[in-house]
Symmetry: C2
Subunit: 463 residues, 2 copies
């Protein structure tokens, strides 16, 4: 179904007397595939061009007719509070509703968790799920683009052996900036067509980031290199590269893991940092690298590994099995000493995160009897009880960071500090779609202004 | 005056019979220097700790008493316009006044252009210019921290020879993340003392970024490696490493170049991207790398090289010397065709940028007779005339990007794409001070929210 388009006359020459017939048949099939591919790419371009033009015109009209409309206030608390809750960005790829959670292009994530990352990328970019033909085209394209540049392996090998895997991953992303079509064509391409070069970059990065992540994983932890799986399915290929073997259960989990974390509107640090960087017309490699830098922060992308550390500590404290009352007391003591319970609460959501529910139900099917999963479930229950009785958490439910580490660990990916790399691969899907769209609709450079503390003091009401 | 503190008993052993006396005398001197250094470091810590505590308390009080105070509105145009002009950040290191231009800690940049980068870093960080003792301490400290980790040279050599110098520089900054004190000590250090580890990182990065930039410069362009200059003065050392020789004129220029571009409040993409990244407690290496990614954008850090390209094109069009009327016509035609005049205008300033004036007057003293500088001056004059007659530019004066490339080029740094690396070294000084301060005052994670286009439509007045 997803035949590979490989025009390699050399291999045909090696086939001896049969080469002419083989070459002919390969050539005909490849011509057909190339033609279908080119047609699909043209259709995608045409559709995006129309969407971008329409959006650009709508935005110009909105600014012309309602530019001065005040759509909200900046409060002093937000000035000092990291713009928390300040609605100052526009993003159409996804929304995060306090009651409903993540929706991609209006579709709640619970309706999408059986989809694959390729479908989600297409949905994010075009606002439509791909049909079979479009999905085949995208998969074939990604498959053909998957090979990493030759300088990446020596680059990774040249870094000190104890370098953080996120640093290795990000430095390699940055070094691949050399491949950027947008950087190469920037001075010759009209501004309104920058997105076409950005789309080429986006496809290459979408294809290569999982390959790079798996390379980092296996090199960093001294695991034997994996033979190229040559799989059309993006997730299956990724799963095999990570584990070094075929594991249908992990593949399914990884698919959901990536899909539920593929986009989260544009105000989270990863997306925002990438957006700001891209707004200067720095190419998608620079933008993705900027996002990954933020994701490497302890109170952003490292939350999943922090929950796991907490869980392992509990496992040591409770060696003879889980006592629910004792567990609640541990959590109460933690809150009383001014610390948080890792893996609970959410900046925006007020109900249970559907992303948690999706991964948790997948985990139940695979790991129901595993002691670590049993303990995690006890913590989910006890944590919510204690937070409800404590009465101050606006959201007392476990969040997505309380389950992602558990499923990765139980699947055999045990190196906690690597989790943020996988998170980065997932988020980059939304970031790449947002990048192409931002260039397509001509998003201007981001440039808020700052106040000094004395300017703030001068704004206070006279008392 | 700025003696180096080198405790190396091995060299003393080699000195034969005299070693005891030598060792004793070296040891006494070093002990004294170490004691003075430790005392100065203690004094710096004590001062910063008091400042940070005071600021934290003031901010807590402001949020408690006035958190709901609306200090401004978000307008629809800002939502789509990259938050332009939206006052939503607090930054005390510097301000950019539309009439007065850049002021660092309240001191106009024109009062500071004879200072050195070490003094500016101290001023940014502490809000005081250092006295002689403090300056000696800082210089000695930076001098001792200057050596790059051993893996950097092979890392740079391993990248493809045509990699963009900014990519090489940034990938190396990122790889040095392994050295971060903040990353190493994050789990053991109380939150309110994170800044102490960040300060160690900041000093190491301030010391090493120019060394790295010079390494990239000389390797990338195949220039012979420079012998370690072993200079106490940060700029002199940097200038010698870049040019491979002592050049007092370039040193003076470079000092001003770095000082005038060392900070520019926190809303420009470089600073903002670094701030967002740091707000997740990602360490200063990650934050600086995020800032550099944004600076690599064509409409941000690449403006100086764009002005130079424009100037070189003019030089080709006007081979027989400069005709002012013809030049004005070229600029008018450019505006008429919808293009901008590179190197003119400013997002915030409404008068001539004092940073331009400082560098321009330094250049006049050194390069008055150079044809390229003569042409540049003609462009400054003609550009302003044409923009004034055009009537639509809110600031018709040449900006700092119209002079930085000229002075670098005339000093012998002719590789245009390298200019953004030097810009990054300069801006990182303010970024590092802002980073330490942000951790010191406990700045929370940045997290604005986004609206979808349909949510914006729903906010429009019913017509």
């Amino acid at each position: 179904m997803f035949g590979k388009s490989n025009i390699q006359p050399e291999t045909c020459h090696n086939a001896g007397t049969n080469w002419a017939i083989q070459y002919n048949s390969v050539s005909r099939r490849d011509c057909l595939l190339l033609a279908v591919g080119a047609l699909q790419m043209d259709l995608l371009h045409t559709r995006l061009e129309a969407q971008f033009r329409e959006t650009r015109e709508e935005i110009a009209g909105l600014i012309r007719d309602h530019g001065d409309l005040a759509i909200g206030s900046v409060h002093l608390a937000q000035l000092f509070g990291g713009m928390r809750g300040l609605r100052a960005l526009v993003c159409d790829t996804s929304t995060v509703d306090p009651e409903l959670g993540l929706a991609i292009r209006g579709l709640p994530i619970k309706q999408l968790h059986d989809r694959c990352p390729e479908e989600i990328f297409w949905l994010l970019l075009t606002s439509f799920l791909p049909d079979d033909r479009e999905l085949s085209f995208l998969r074939e394209r990604l498959h053909d683009l998957r090979t990493l540049p030759g300088y990446i392996a020596p680059l990774l090998d040249g870094m000190p052996a104890d370098t953080h895997p996120m640093t290795m991953f990000n430095a390699a992303v940055l070094t691949m900036q050399r491949e950027s079509h947008m950087a190469t064509r920037y001075r010759t391409l009209p501004r309104e067509l920058l997105w076409t070069a950005a789309l080429e970059d986006a496809l290459e990065m979408f294809a290569r980031l999982p390959v790079l992540a798996a390379e980092v994983y296996r090199r960093r932890y001294g695991l034997p290199t994996v033979e190229e799986p040559d799989e059309m399915d993006w997730t299956r290929d990724f799963a095999m590269r990570l584990l070094g073997r075929n594991d249908a259960g992990f593949e399914e989990l990884l698919r959901s893991y990536v899909v539920v974390q593929s986009d989260h509107e544009s105000g989270n640090v990863f997306a925002f940092s990438a957006h700001i960087t891209g707004s200067t017309h720095a190419d998608p490699y620079y933008a993705c690298s900027a996002g990954l830098n933020g994701l490497a922060g302890h109170i952003h992308g490292l939350a999943a590994q922090d929950f796991m550390r907490f869980l392992f500590d509990l496992q040591q404290d409770l060696p003879s099995g889980v006592d629910q009352a004792f567990l609640r007391q541990i959590l109460r003591d933690r809150l009383a000493s001014g610390r948080v319970i890792p893996g609970f609460g959410h900046a925006v959501l007020r109900l249970q995160d559907p992303r948690f529910e999706i991964l948790s139900s997948r985990a139940s099917a695979l790991f129901a009897g595993e002691p670590l999963f049993l303990l995690a479930r006890q913590v989910y229950q006890a944590g919510t009880q204690v937070l409800v009785e404590h009465g101050r958490a606006r959201n007392p439910y476990p969040n997505v960071d309380a389950i992602t580490g558990v499923v990765l660990n139980l699947s055999g990916i045990r190196e906690l500090e690597f989790y943020t790399v996988l998170f980065g691969v997932s988020l980059s899907i939304g970031m790449l779609a947002q990048y192409v769209i931002s260039r397509g609709i001509g998003s201007p450079i981001v440039r808020p202004r700052s106040l000094s503390l004395s300017e703030v003091r001068a704004m206070l009401p006279q008392s």
